[in-house]
């Protein structure tokens, strides 16, 4: 960090370097904030005149990745599931349980296989717990830095834009240096597929809940209905996105990798993909006897995803968004001070 702060060549790349320059000394809270602000685009690694094998051996993306992992462990209660085996075990367990408790039917009616009340209460409860755990983590992140500026709407909008556009992975339109030194938008595009795929699936569920609770329209819905269309698009996103991210991950430069995170990363990619595949299969085969086992498998994967949401790789999105918000606040704050000085 001292090297970065006296060099400053990278300050045009992303939000991390200007944020670094706003500080002269770095507390643990600062490091955790910077680490979560870093999108791991790795441009600063390839541009660094002090990167290994230079004797200073500066490797910002890797150092921040390691700090980031530790920060997750610090913020997340009760802890992080890091091993791929743990997530796989959970998935097998949940799928098996779901298969055991799902009634065999001839297809068509989801609730004949799994009662409506069971589905709503089970996932309602899980969802509430996920939100509670995330909030706890967020509060811990936010309170760690004593000098947090007050929230305001303009900064919220800035941060939202950064989250939705992944502006820090675009490198001014040229794309980041991932999986190798060549600039490419691939990672950003596949992340968008995954991110928006997930959101569309979530939206589909929300619309379905409204149909069910307010209009009394029961699933399954027609192929051209809003929930099915949203779910189908989301499912495609959750297939294309994770496969693309996985393919990039396999080819990335080993020098910037923190190997202890592989299990966590692969678990999330695998779970999202499994949810996408089983969800689409369920939609396609819902009128056949295959529906009930497929529903069980799908719900097994959905449950695993829910359980890992507050203690797996998914939390990167939570803390990254919070870091982007803090960054937006800081940036506006320092801009204002700059303007006052010039006046």
């Amino acid at each position: 960090m001292t090297i970065c702060n006296s060099c400053r060549y990278c300050e045009g790349f992303c939000a991390v370097f200007p944020a670094m320059e706003r500080r002269l000394v770095f507390s643990e809270a600062d490091l955790n904030y910077l680490a979560n602000l870093c999108h791991n685009c790795t441009e600063c690694f390839y541009a660094c005149q002090y990167a290994p094998p230079h004797e200073f051996a500066v490797n910002v993306p890797k150092a921040l990745a390691e700090i980031r992992m530790n920060s997750y462990r610090k913020y997340c209660w009760p802890g992080m599931i890091r091993g791929g085996w743990a997530a796989s075990g959970l998935a097998i367990l949940f799928v098996a349980l779901a298969l055991a408790f799902t009634r065999r039917t001839s297809g068509g009616d989801f609730y004949a296989a799994v009662p409506h009340g069971v589905m709503v209460s089970l996932f309602g409860a899980m969802g509430a717990l996920v939100l509670a755990f995330w909030s706890l983590g967020l509060v811990r992140f936010w309170k760690e830095d004593p000098a947090r500026p007050p929230l305001h709407a303009a900064a919220l909008l800035d941060a939202l834009r950064d989250v939705l556009k992944l502006s820090n992975l675009s490198s001014h339109g040229a794309g980041c240096t991932y999986p190798n030194q060549r600039q490419s938008q691939a990672r950003r595009i596949f992340h968008h597929f995954t991110f928006y795929g997930f959101l569309l699936c979530f939206a589909s569920t929300c619309v379905a809940a409204v149909y069910d609770n307010f209009f009394g329209w029961k699933a399954p819905y027609a192929y051209l209905s809003v929930p099915v269309l949203l779910g189908a698009m989301g499912g495609i996103g959750l297939i294309v996105g994770p496969i693309g991210l996985l393919a990039l991950k396999m080819r990335r430069d080993p020098r910037i990798v923190d190997p202890q995170q592989d299990g966590m990363d692969l678990s999330l990619i695998g779970l999202l993909l499994a949810n996408g595949v089983t969800g689409l299969a369920l939609m396609a085969l819902r009128a056949t006897p295959a529906m009930s086992p497929l529903l069980a498998i799908h719900l097994g994967f959905v449950s695993t995803l829910f359980v890992t949401l507050p203690c797996g790789k998914f939390v990167h999105g939570i803390f990254r968004s919070a870091a982007l918000l803090r960054n937006a606040l800081e940036r506006r704050d320092s801009d204002q001070r700059e303007n006052r000085r010039h006046r």
């Binding site: 006296s6 300050e11 045009g12 002090y50 290994p52 230079h54 030194q181």
Partner: protein
């Protein structure tokens, strides 16, 4: 002439392509600009870079900007700036070529993937005159190497040229150690862009004596001057002062080579500078720092042991970009002296005398303020404030060599000029190797990259023409 290399069969490069159109010797900014330009003119190009790929790019990897003529920075102002720093030791014709071509160079650079950004924090005074590379010089070089790869230009790393076959101003071949294997490369024309000799301590000793052992080299260890020497021995006309180099005072704890930008110290004008004996030796506040930082390398080199210390107090902390190394701190001057290994009584006297000589004034480190000393030798003309607020801080200083001025003479086509006045028919030079034609003395921020880019492109084009 056919291959003389007994290991030819083991070397696929001499086997498959015995004759290149253009051979580029060097791997920095000028070399790659030459290679790309020659390739644009249809030439088949080979680049020989002495460094391994991780350290490719010569001193360009440490740069960050390029001085460009523009609507707000016209040719005459640019020329006047150059005239001022060189004290007239420049070739006006070549200089004006560099200046004029710098205006449209960024367009060409962008075509080859180079990206620019706003001036970096702490360098706003260069915003009007210089264009900054996004991510700095190594990112620039990465873009050029990427572009070269896309154009099918072949690059060999770990390929140091050790012998040249030139006859009456005609280049025939160059022999390089490629990963330690002697290999001869033939080409129809050649561009030399292999930098100066600043990393060659033995050569530096010819001018500086044993003091050169204590010099630190700010840039690449691969600029050992071997190619320069081969050219001069081959009858090429030299240019530039053979004894002079650009030297600044950097943190003495910097690595011997490649310490780059982070070892610089900007705090000198904010305090006093003392030598090993604990006494001051030059006016620290003579002029604005950007105009004076380059004299301190020479000043420190002239002190016993080639070492000095910048001493400041807590008042000025935060007014300069910190060095990568922590300051040495103490609560009293006496204690500081003992930490630095300086005679404490003398250092105390130096500081007391200095403090007593400080006249009242309004301190402003951004302008030539009215804080100066009275009746002190040497004086401090500006920014003189008593050093009285503990803790006291010190940074050790050594001469950091940036580049050397000795080069080869070229004409306006980047054609090398032989000692008999003829020009080498198919021999061209670019970059630091010929910068002495234009920059005979002093330095202008970002001008090295301008010379490298402009003459690299000229040399590449001309070499491609000469190969036809």
């Amino acid at each position: 002439m056919t291959e003389t290399n007994p290991l030819t069969e083991a070397n696929p490069f001499t086997e498959t392509k015995p004759l290149y159109d253009v051979l580029v010797i060097g791997g920095g900014n000028a070399a790659l600009c030459a290679a790309l330009s020659a390739s644009e003119c249809g030439a088949n190009v080979l680049v020989l870079e002495a460094a391994p790929s991780d350290f490719r790019g010569g001193n360009s990897r440490h740069t960050r900007n390029m001085r460009c003529m523009s609507e707000s920075y016209g040719e005459e102002e640019y020329w006047t700036d150059l005239l001022r720093v060189t004290g007239g030791q420049t070739d006006e014709c070549l200089a004006r070529i560099a200046i004029r071509s710098s205006a449209e160079s960024p367009v060409w650079m962008k075509l080859h993937g180079v990206r620019f950004q706003a001036a970096l924090g702490g360098t706003l005074h260069l915003d009007r005159t210089n264009k900054f590379f996004l991510g700095g010089g190594k990112a620039l070089m990465n873009s050029y190497y990427e572009a070269a790869c896309a154009r099918g230009i072949r690059v060999l790393y770990n390929a140091e040229v050790v012998a040249l076959n030139m006859d009456c101003g005609v280049f025939k071949s160059a022999t390089a150690l490629v990963n330690g294997i002697r290999t001869e490369f033939r080409a129809k024309s050649v561009v030399f862009a292999a930098g100066g000799y600043e990393a060659n301590i033995e050569w530096l000793k010819e001018a500086w004596g044993e003091a050169a052992d204590n010099f630190l080299i700010r840039g690449t260890p691969f600029n050992n001057g071997r190619v320069l020497k081969l050219l001069l021995d081959g009858g090429v006309e030299p240019v530039g002062d053979p004894k002079q180099c650009h030297a600044v005072a950097i943190d003495a704890r910097a690595p011997k080579f490649d310490g780059g930008i982070v070892t610089r110290l900007d705090c000198l004008p904010l305090g006093i500078v003392v030598n090993r004996e604990g006494v001051r030796f030059y006016d620290e506040g003579e002029d604005l720092w950007p105009k004076r930082y380059a004299i301190w390398g020479r000043l420190v080199a002239g002190q016993p042991g080639q070492i000095a210390w910048s001493i400041i107090d807590s008042k000025v902390v935060g007014r300069f970009i910190p060095s990568v190394f922590p300051p040495i701190t103490a609560d009293s001057i006496c204690e500081l002296a003992s930490q630095l290994g300086l005679p404490s009584d003398i250092l105390e006297t130096t500081v007391e005398r200095f403090n007593a000589a400080v006249m009242p004034g309004h301190f402003d480190h951004n302008v030539l303020d009215d804080c100066r000393t009275a009746d002190l030798t040497p004086p401090k003309s500006h920014w003189a404030q008593a050093i009285d607020k503990p803790p006291f801080l010190a940074y050790p200083l050594r001469p950091g060599i940036t580049f050397t001025y000795l080069g080869v003479k070229v004409n306006d086509s980047a054609n090398i000029v032989m000692r008999d006045g003829t020009s080498g028919r198919n021999i061209f030079a670019a970059g630091e190797l010929m910068a002495g034609n234009i920059l005979g003395k002093g330095y202008l921020a970002g001008f090295g990259m301008t010379i490298g880019t402009v003459f690299g492109r000229i040399a590449g084009r001309q070499a491609a023409l000469a190969a036809k």
